[in-house]
Symmetry: C2
DNA sequence: TGTTTCGATCAAACCGGTTTAGTAAATCCG
DNA sequence: CGGATTTACTAAACCGGTTTGATCGAAACA
């Protein structure tokens, strides 16, 4: 009935007839062990089914052999975002190969800092990923104080002591706007993500700059929160004749001309927007073109199929993990380039209606 | 330039003028320490900003102070499923309060067993959650072999040595079917999840049993894979006049009568199904009623808003974590009841078209 | 051949906690 | 008042690895 205790390094040492120090050397590929002995040790380890205890290694080399992610998003928003699962899957691909684990922490927004402190103080992780960068993000300073190496997804807006995976949302938005412009749209609106998020802000910037670059007038921008509800509300605001009280959340001066296209900063809001259009009797794409961002699984299966920007979070995850592990190992790590996002055109974008088109000159 | 090393228990002991054993006792609330000394120790610890090293504790008490989840799903399916983020958020709520961490492992399906072994052999976790139960699931045996405590989400189909959170999808599906039956539908179809998943199987069973219970004829059941693409294909199969080659994936004999309602086993497939209906010129809900499952964020924002079954994965996560930690602490843990899922009715369900209705007798 | 160098190996210290065995002083008891 | 408990605490062992310093025999050198 006695539970077979896991073998330890001494068991292996005894079986191989050496000291435990030698076993350790043999296993870590250190010089100073004869080929003969090394093989005997490896064989003994295999026979006993021995795996070094991470706990013991962690203590003696003061490493956790784990990296962390602190997520301060609301679960509902997480669930709707295809980014995380793919990113994490990519991260794991790298971690598993290098014997590391991923410690996840999902916390209410107010406890974000506490989350990082917990990971650091308890020595649970050797480094972290920095996601959902914000404008003037305080976390870089926090992590430096905590002495925790990090890799950020996208480059922060201030000089950062940490390497970044150079994710850039701008080319994706730019492609969307140019695509619409080429179709003949002259009045394009944007449903932005929260301005305090760097990616929300950058997508919006890209929207505005590209409009200017192709010589179109600035379009209305409504800030929403990346949720379906937010996307629906924003769409209503854009499509409805600006009622008195409704103008509250409008950020830019409304163009006199009602937009013939809306660039959303994620698919979830775009899909919600499609429904609002139906409800208001606005045909998509005949009267209104719509683009999303993320190229969700669902994008190709809504009516009409959604033109969207395809990104590659799985790849980002792999690259980010490689960079972080190299950094932890003491290497000097440069920013990591990644391929630009691609626009996937589907039926939700088409030329603007002729009537509106006529007015455009 | 010397990095201030983190204080250890000896530093605290020295500061308080006691031995490190006493510090340990004081901190763990053991008897045998005078109130006086205890306070002096706690004060010293606070002053030095000392937190016990998880690594050291882990080694000496052979506990990881962490629990694990191994996910063998494809990232795309994960991304579309609102279950995981909410479940994990619930788990964290409990874990954080009890000083535990969550180790996540996302692996290709073929490496699932290896994933559990890695966690167990390296001693990374003290227990795991068992998600996505399958028919004749081998993992219970594996975990028992590995000596890893577990809590399963839903009760397995075979006697299990582990406690379960008694999630039951059947009442949700039953409510959906009854709702449709009350609206007057007589021919109802089901788009099922993969039959090798227990929840896929059980939702299907509930569908079939409820039909029988309310005296309706068995409806066609098409098995899909929970993805948008799968949902679209299944819908096409149900709505199209059964073409020659198309009958391949049809599981039940098709009812002679084309269905006036479809019960989907998740929202993602249901939303994809809505688009297929539009494409085939079938009006929802006028000609076809549709129900989903999960009550996704998006459900209320598609056209028409989707009647769906609301579940509470956040709660499940909290309860599951409590049960697992109690189990790890050596308690005897019973199965944990949770409230039944609720049907949320929206505009995607309505009475069947009169023409069809006439035929029903 | 005597000395040096080197490679292979071992014993012991160490990481930072927990836990057990032991001790001195204080308290109890008859 | 003297022996038996109890209380408060310390010293040391332990968890299972890694790493350092010392040892020893064989090969290299003078």
């Amino acid at each position: 009935m006695t539970r077979a205790d896991r073998p330890t390094i001494v068991d292996v040492a005894r079986a191989a007839g050496v000291s435990k120090g030698t076993v350790s050397f043999a296993l870590n590929g250190r010089p100073g062990v004869s080929e003969d002995t090394r093989e005997r040790i490896l064989a003994a380890a295999r026979d006993l089914g021995w795996t070094p205890s991470t706990k013991a290694r962690a203590l003696s080399v003061s490493r956790a052999f784990a990296v962390g992610i602190v997520l301060a998003r609301e679960p509902e928003l997480l669930g709707a975002d295809p980014f995380f699962p793919s990113f994490i899957a990519g991260v794991e691909r790298t971690l598993i190969d290098r014997g590391q684990a991923l410690v996840l922490q999902v916390v209410p927004e107010a406890e974000e800092e506490a989350g990082y402190r917990r990971l650091a103080d308890a020595g649970r992780v050797d480094g972290v990923f920095l996601l959902d960068l914000r404008v003037d993000d305080q976390r870089m300073a926090l992590l430096e104080e905590l002495g925790l190496p990090a890799v950020s997804i996208a480059r922060p807006d201030a000089p950062s002591p940490f390497p970044a995976v150079l994710v850039d949302d701008r080319p994706g938005i730019e492609a969307a706007v140019r695509h619409l412009a080429e179709l003949g749209h002259r009045h394009i609106a944007h449903v932005a993500g929260p301005a305090h998020f760097l990616h929300g802000q950058r997508r919006r910037q890209a929207f505005e700059e590209t409009l200017a670059a192709v010589g179109l007038p600035a379009g209305p921008v409504v800030e929403a929160d990346f949720s379906a509800a937010g996307g629906a509300a924003a769409t209503r605001e854009i499509l409805k004749p600006a009622g008195g009280a409704a103008a509250t959340r409008q950020i830019l001066k409304p163009a006199e001309q009602k937009p013939t296209a809306i660039v959303y900063s994620n698919d979830l809001m775009a899909i919600a927007g499609l429904s609002v259009a139906v409800e208001l009797g606005v045909a998509v794409p005949a009267q209104l073109s719509v683009t999303g961002f993320d190229n969700t699984d669902l994008a190709a299966y809504v009516t009409p199929p959604l033109t969207s920007v395809r990104t590659d979070p799985y790849l980002w995850g792999r690259k980010a993990a490689e960079a972080l592990l190299d950094l932890i190992d003491g290497g000097t790590v440069d920013d990591v380039p990644v391929p630009a996002a691609q626009l996937v055109t589907r039926a939700s974008t088409a030329p603007p209606p002729p009537t509106v088109r006529t007015e455009k000159r």
